[in-house]
Amino acid sequence: MNALADPLLSGGVTWAVLLIVLIKVVLAFAVVMIAVMLMVWFERKAISDMQSRIGPQRWGPFGILQTLADGIKLFFKEDIIPAEADRVVFKAAPYLVLIPALVTFSIIPVGGTVTIAGHTVQLQVANPPVGILVMLAMSGLSVYGVMLAGWSSGSKYPLLSSVRASAQMISYEAVLGMTIVTVAMASGSLTTRDIVDAQARGVWHWNLVHLGVVPFVIFLIAITAESNRPPFDVVEAESELVGGYNTEYSSIRFALFFLAEFMNTVTASAMIVTLFLGGPAGWAPHVAYLRWIFPILWFIGKTTALAFTYVWFRGALPRLRYDQVMELGWKRLIPLSLGWLLIVAGFMVKIAYGFAMAAAVIFAGTLLSRAFEIGAQRGPDAVLSPVGDRPVSEENIREYFDDEDDSETPRGEK
């Protein structure tokens, strides 16, 4: 067990190593920015095709520079801060969304290893021992940006949106964590590099197949909900909440939110590729100077395929109602991911234990669904009703308003 999982840093930190790390950071930043630019264009173009529209077409070939044009436009627009806003928090919130989105990308392995000036360099910005937990920590922190953006706007729709967002993101974080435990158990490590290496031996070793398809599906749904993407975008449901937590934002601050959202999409695709599709694993030719580039191409290809899946979700699925989102998270995905975790653990110890666990999970699942059924049958009075219920009962409200209308009898004499 070496102290640091990164071979670059294990031989002591010299100026050359420091320079390599710096180059990696700058390069990763540039790659993410370009990827986000392309992602925005790709999403708009693909959605347009699905909806029989043309989409962006003016700037650059196939409108590929549209995002750049939009960025420049937003940059020169007037920056408005509402009078009711909490100024410090209002200004900080966009960065609180952007920075976690950026940091998450740093642990994703985009390729194998290359040798630069005698140093073995992993093609990822960092490979910390806690690995995948960095992603959980960052998704936990990105809640703040959304939550504080809504609160600090001093406006009610953004506040409603931010309360929804934080509840939703915290709920789905639990699902994400549970699925990641399954992956980490199969790989025997938390570092993203080890997780990818464990899947490198072929398609049958990819966690997608290796763990059964269920964790992959759960993770895909959960991370879509975690990044507030359609069909889970109740956070910015236009018909209910005007535009969500960033309603009051304009100019470059709005652009930062927009950037972070698409950055999250790119990172989420890359994270699924890392955890379930073997990351940069794939066929590579036996030519020495071509060998390093093929993993990168595989990684880009897989990530693009998943990014398309997200766009497809947006084009194909209607938005869920808020209570449906929460029910899916707490009543379906969390029990399912827990159960699957137990089954996988059982199979890892002994096949017989695996089947025993599966039987136990099926039994518990039946009990649980029966409990949900009974709970649903008790009617709206016994179960906390989902939406639109007043905290004060109808009678009390009526009494209050009747009093106000009835100006002849003062309230005290009743």
Binding site: M1, P129, G140, V143, Y144, W151, L384
Partner: protein, 187 residues
């Protein structure tokens, strides 16, 4: 203890972490807006996580961020937002007469106690740090394995009792919330 074995990067990280912790903690008690105080608490938690990292407790650092910064302070903010922020705090009114004096005394006793404990024994509790067979936890991957092993063997009872305690708390909260609701329906 500190100065003998540290190198200058270690010292730099320690100073940064300590500064974050102290500045954050001062912010929590001195800022008038409760939301700002909660945000200040996050700075403190980051400082704590940084000092964990510096002592090669990577897993603890990650958990510190995930659980405390990622969930608990979010819940604190939730409560503050639901209750509404009081923009004009009544600082001059003391609900308990002389509470400031007592608070200062309490702080003094706590800090004094901690310093005395630290001076006299190995750590705050006076017990050696959690480890297998007296050896310190190694960093990196081994750390998580060793932590898992000690939690599920040596400290199993404490671990399970904590889990039970948390479940009881959740059940209690559900019961309280539900009873309120039912009595309201019956009215």
């Amino acid at each position: 203890m500190l100065a003998l074995t540290t190198t200058w990067p270690d010292l730099l990280v320690f100073i940064t972490a300590a500064a974050l912790i102290v500045v954050g903690a001062l912010g929590v008690i001195s800022l008038t807006n409760p939301v700002h105080s909660a945000l200040s608490l996050i700075i403190t938690l980051f400082g704590v996580a940084l000092s964990f990292l510096e002592q090669s407790a990577d897993f603890l650092a990650a958990v510190e961020i995930i659980v405390y910064a990622g969930a608990i302070v979010v819940l604190i903010l939730f409560v503050i937002m639901y209750l509404g922020v009081d923009r004009h705090p009544h600082d001059e009114v003391e609900p308990l007469v002389g509470q400031r004096v007592f608070a200062a005394l309490g702080a003094l006793v706590t800090v004094g106690g901690i310093i005395t404990l630290m001076a006299k024994s190995h750590w705050v509790t006076g017990v050696m740090s959690a480890s297998m067979n007296g050896t310190s936890l190694s960093s990196g991957q081994g750390e998580i394995t060793q932590l898992g092993q000690s939690v599920f063997t040596t400290y199993l009872v404490a671990f399970e009792v904590t889990a039970a305690l948390l479940i009881i708390a959740v059940l209690g909260a559900v019961q309280l919330a539900r009873r309120d609701r039912e009595s309201e329906v019956e009215q």
